[in-house]
Symmetry: C3
Subunit: 431 residues, 3 copies
C-alpha cells in the first residue's frame, strides 16, 4: 500500500473579503468552527498528519481549536505575509525536512467538498503512488476560473486561466485538491519560481507547470458538491451544505429541549440541548437550532441555522439565513441573511431580499460592486451590531461590527464598523 499523504491545509489567506465577518476558518456551522469540522472529516477518512498554514492573526485561535484533537498529528506553521500560495506551502518545509519524499495532499480550509473527492484522490494515489493528482471539477457552464488541459488518458499537461467560454481546453475547472507524490520536488520547483523576477504571484501554478514536464500529473474528476467561502454571502452556501447533511435524518430533538404542544417541527430538523420551541412556533427543515436557542411564540425558522444562545422572538421569521450565537431577534424578518454573533435585530426590522426589478443582487467588496449571483440576498451584519426598531436593509447590504442603526432607518449602503446611522424626520406638530 502507498504511503498515506500528509495533509497541508492552507488557512493563512486573509479574510478581508469576508467583511463584516471575520476569520473564515473560525465561523461555526452547527456547534463548531469550520476548521474543526473539516479536520474531523479528514481524520475520519484516515488522514493521520496535518500541517495547517496559519497567518499571524488566526494562529492563536487555530492553535486553541486543535488543542484537544488527538486523532491526528497536527502542526501549525505560520505564513507571516500574504506572499502567495507557493510561499504558504513552503512554510511546511521545516516540518517535512527529514522526509522530503513523502506525498502531500494540499487543500484550502475554505473549500467544502464531499468525502468522495478525498476518497477518489486517495484511491488514485494508492493505485499508482508514482503519479501526482489534481482534482478537476466537472462543469458544463463556463466558469471564469482555471481549466485543466487533459489528454484522453487523463494526463494533465497544463492549466489555462480564464480561457473564455469558447476556448476551454476541457470541462475541468481547477481547484485546490492537489496530491503531490513527492513534496521535496514540489518545494524545489516552487523555490525555483521565487528566484525568477516575474511580477505575478502564481509561483505555485508555474511550479506545477514545470513539474508536469518531468512527471505524471493525472486528473481526478469530481462532480459532487463544492462550495468555497470567499465572500460573506458564501456563508449561506456553506450552511446549506451542512443543512443538507440533516436530510433524511428526521427530527433530532435533544432530550433537554422543550417543544410546545402547538409548535410544529416539519421535515428534517435538529433541536439542540435546552432549546425551547414555544407555542405556535414552527421549525421547518432542513434547519439547525443550537443549544439553548429560544424560538418564541408564533415564530418561524426555516432552512436556516440558528446557533446556541440566540433568541428568535415572537413572530420573528428566520428564512434561509445564518444566525450566529447570542443574537437577539424580535418580531422581525431575517431573510436570506447572515447575522454574526451578538447582533440585536429589533422589532419591525426586515432584511429586504428581493430587488424590485427581480435582478440578481450585488454587493460591494473592498470598493468593488460584485454580482453575488443570488436572486435573493438580504443583509450581512457584523458582530454586536444593534439594529433598532423598524429598520430595513436593502438587498446585499453589509453592516459593520458594533454599528448602530437608528429606528426606522433604510440601510441602502454598507455601514462601517462602529458607525452610527440615524434618520432625521421632518415632523409637523399642530393643535
Amino acid at each position: 500500500m502507498a504511503e498515506s499523504p500528509v495533509l497541508i491545509i492552507l488557512a493563512g489567506g486573509a479574510s478581508s473579503r469576508m467583511w463584516p465577518l471575520r476569520e473564515k476558518s473560525l465561523i461555526k456551522f452547527g456547534a463548531q468552527p469550520l476548521l474543526v469540522t473539516q479536520l474531523q472529516q479528514y481524520a475520519a477518512l484516515g488522514f493521520r498528519e496535518v500541517i495547517i498554514v496559519a497567518n499571524l492573526e488566526n494562529r492563536v485561535d487555530i492553535a486553541g481549536l486543535v488543542e484537544g484533537m488527538t486523532d491526528m498529528k497536527i502542526e501549525i506553521v505560520v505564513q507571516p505575509e500574504p506572499k502567495g500560495m507557493g510561499d504558504a506551502i513552503l512554510k511546511a518545509e521545516p516540518v517535512l525536512a527529514n522526509r522530503l519524499d513523502t506525498p502531500v495532499y494540499i487543500n484550502q480550509i475554505h473549500d467544502v467538498v464531499e468525502d468522495k473527492l478525498h476518497l477518489d484522490m486517495l484511491a488514485a494515489h494508492a493505485r499508482n503512488p508514482a503519479a501526482s493528482y489534481l482534482a478537476g471539477y466537472e462543469m458544463t457552464e463556463y466558469f471564469p476560473g482555471g481549466y485543466l488541459v487533459v489528454d484522453a488518458a487523463g494526463r494533465i499537461s497544463g492549466m489555462v486561466e480564464k480561457p473564455g467560454a469558447e476556448n476551454r481546453p476541457s470541462n475541468l475547472v481547477t481547484f485546490v485538491a492537489h496530491l503531490h507524490t513527492n513534496v521535496g520536488q514540489l518545494f524545489e520547483a516552487i523555490k525555483a519560481e521565487y528566484t525568477k523576477d516575474i511580477p505575478s504571484d502564481d509561483h505555485y501554478e508555474r511550479a506545477m507547470d514545470a513539474l508536469m514536464k518531468g512527471m505524471t500529473y493525472q486528473v481526478v474528476r469530481y462532480s459532487g458538491q463544492w462550495k468555497a467561502l470567499k465572500f460573506p454571502w458564501h456563508v449561506l452556501d456553506i450552511m446549506n451544505v451542512f443543512l443538507d447533511q440533516l436530510k433524511g435524518k428526521g427530527q433530532q430533538v435533544a432530550e433537554s429541549a422543550f417543544v410546545a404542544k402547538t409548535a410544529s417541527l416539519v421535515g428534517d430538523v435538529y433541536i439542540g440541548e435546552g432549546a425551547k420551541i414555544f407555542p405556535g412556533a414552527a421549525v421547518v427543515g432542513p434547519a439547525y437550532i443550537g443549544a439553548g436557542v429560544i424560538v418564541g411564540n408564533n415564530a418561524l425558522v426555516r432552512n436556516s441555522m440558528v446557533l446556541s444562545g440566540s433568541n428568535v422572538g415572537f413572530t420573528t421569521e428566520v428564512a434561509r439565513s445564518y444566525v450566529a450565537e447570542h443574537v437577539d431577534m424580535h418580531a422581525c424578518r431575517v431573510l436570506d441573511s447572515v447575522l454574526a454573533s451578538g447582533v440585536n435585530f429589533s422589532a419591525g426590522c426586515t432584511t429586504a431580499n428581493l430587488r424590485i426589478d427581480k435582478g440578481t443582487v450585488s454587493s460591494r467588496v473592498k470598493g468593488n460592486k460584485l454580482d453575488t449571483g443570488r436572486d435573493k440576498l438580504g443583509a450581512i451584519i457584523g458582530q454586536g451590531a444593534f439594529i433598532a426598531v423598524d429598520a430595513m436593509t436593502m438587498p446585499g447590504v453589509k453592516i459593520g461590527e458594533g454599528a448602530q442603526i437608528g429606528p426606522g432607518t433604510h440601510v441602502i449602503q454598507d455601514v462601517g464598523d462602529g458607525k452610527r446611522v440615524y434618520v432625521k424626520q421632518e415632523v409637523v406638530v399642530s393643535d
Copy 2:
C-alpha cells in the same frame, strides 16, 4: 305560456371609473369572471338566448369566455363608441331583425342581484305577456338616482331623476332590469329619440317615457340584494355577495387541499384544490381560498377572497379584502383592500383602513374626490404593482398597474400606472 324573453346584457360600458382595475365583466369572483357567473345564473333560471353588447376592448375576451357555454345561445354584438344605452340596445337589432315582436329582458353586467328579481320579472311576464315590466328597488333612505312614478295598481307613468329626498314620487329606485314585451316597438322608440337634437344621452329613458304613453309598464318591486360594480371599491361589495353564498355551507375543503393540524378553519370557508393552510394559520369565514393558494404559517384570512395561486405569507393578515390571482404577500396587513393579479405586497406593509377622525373614506375618480361611504377602506392596487417592504397606504388610495412603491413609502395619494415612487431619507452617520 308566454314566450321566454331574449336577454340583452349590456357589457359595453367603459370601465375607466374602475381604474386601476380593468374591465368589470372579467373580474373573477371565485374561480370565474363575473360575466360567466352571471350567464350561468341566467341559464339556470331558464333563459335560452342572450345577446351581449360588448365594446371594442372587451369583445375578444368576452368571446373567449363564452366559447364553451352551451346552455344558452349567445351572440356578441359590439357598440364601437360610448353613445349611450339606447345606442347599445340598438346594436342588438340585427340579431332580432326577423322577430321584432319578441320580448327582451335588459340587464347590465355590473348589477349583481338575487334570483328572486329575475324570477319575479319572468312570473309577471308570464301572467300578462302584453305588458312590459321595470324593476323598482324599494329603498327607505333617499338615494340620488332615478325614481319611478307609480300608481296604486303598480302602473308606471314615468321616471324622475334625482328628485331630492322631499320630492320622491315613490320609494322605488330604478335600475336596469327591464322586460320589454315587444323589442321592435322599443327599437323604434329609441331610434325616434336619436333623430331629435336634444343635448343629452338619455335617449333610452326618453324612449321609455314615450312608450309608457301607449302601452302598459308595470313595476316589479324588489328588496333583495343589489350591488352595482361602478367604482373599484365596489369589488368588495360584490365579493361579499359571493361570500354570502358560502354561508351555511360549512367547510368545503377540496380533497387535494392540505390543512395543518394546528391550522384553524372557522365558520363557512371554501378551500380550493391543492391549497395549503400551514401550521398556526387561520381562515375565518365567510372566506374563499382558491386553488393552489398558500396560507402560510400563522397567517390569517378572514371575510375575504384569495384567488388561485396567491401566497398569503407568514403572519400576513388579509381581512375583508379581495386578492386576485398570483398575488404575493408576506408578513403584511391587507385590510379592506383590493389587490389585482400579480401584485407583490412585501413584508411590513400595511393598508391603513381607518381615518384618524373616523370619518368615511374618500377616493379620487377621474380627478373628482368621491365619498365612498365606507368607514373602512384600504387600498386598491393594480395588476403587477410591486410594493416594497414597510410601505404604507392611506385609506382609499389607488396604485396603478405595474407601479413600484419603494421601501417605507407612505402612499398618501394615487400613483399612476407604471410610476415609481421612492422616499429620500435624511440620514446622519457618525462615529
Copy 3:
C-alpha cells in the same frame, strides 16, 4: 384590647406628576380602582372607620366609588389647596373632634404594601397602646429619602432627610404608615408648626419631631413589598404587585370565556367573563385579562394586565405592559408600556423599550429629565390618543390625551394633550 385606630388615607395629593395619566386613586388594577382595592384590603384587616382626604378634583369620583362600600364607615374630607401633609391631616379634625384621644393610622393612597405591614402595626399598637408607631422600611442600598434615628430598643428619636449613603443613622427608610396613639396631640403639634414662620412644608415631620420629645415613638420594621405610585411608569410596578397575587393560583378562567383549542394559557393567568382567546394566541402568566377582552389570532400577552373591553388584535404582542379599558391594538408591539383607556394603537406600531446604549431609560416630568431606573421602558400614552400605523415611540416617551400621531412617525419626545404630529416624507416620483 386596644381601641382599633381610625384610618386616615391621604388621597388629596396632586396627580400632575402622573401626566399623561390622571388621578392615581382612580387607576384600575384588575376590575376596580386602586382606591377601592386598598379600602377592601383595610376592611379585610379589621379596620372599621376611614377618613379619606380628597382634593377638589377627585372628591366626586371618590365619593362615587365608596358609595356602595358598607364594610367600613367612610368619611370624605377635602383639602382644597395643596398646603402639605400636615394641612391634609388637619382636615380630618372635624370628624374626630369629639374623640380626640382616638388612635389614627395614617396611610397614603399611592403606597401599595402587603398585609403584613398593617398587621404588624396593629399588633404593636395592641401590645402597647400608649406608644405611637412609624414604619421603617429596611433597605440595604442607599435610597435618597428620609431615615429614622432609632435606638437599640427600637425607639425613634428623630428623622433625617437624605443623609447621604455614608451618614445613614440606620437602614430604616421612612414612609407614611404612621400610627399615632392620640390624634388630638397630633393635631395640636401640627397646628403649632403652622403658626411658625418656617419656609418649608414639612410641618407634619416637624410636628412628629416635637412629639417624640414627650412620648414614645417605636419603629415597626418592614421588609416586604412597597411600591409607590408617584410617576406614570410606577403603574407598571403597582401592576406587578397585583400580578404577583395571581401567582400559584393557576388558571382562573371565567365560565363565559372562550379559549380556542390551539390557544395557550401558560402559568398563572386570570381570564375574565366573556373574554375570547383566539386560535394560536397565548397568554403567559402572571397575566390578567379583563372581561370581554379579545386576544386575537396569534397574539401574545405576557406579564401584563389588559382591562375590560380591550382588543389585542392579530399578532399583537403585549409584554410587561398595562393596558386600560377599551384600548384597540392591532398587529403591534406594546412593550413595557402604559396605555390609558380608549387608546388606538395601530398596525405596525412599536414602543421601543431599550436604549441602544443599554443604559436606564429617562423620562421628563414637568420639564425635568428623570432617570426612571428602568432598563426597559416603552411609552406612556394618555386616554383616547390615536397612534396611526407604523408609528414608533422611543423609550420613556409620553403622549398626551387625545393626541394624534400620524403614520410612520418616530415619537422621540413627549407629545402634549390633543396635539397632532405628522411626518413629511420627501418623495420622488419617476416614470
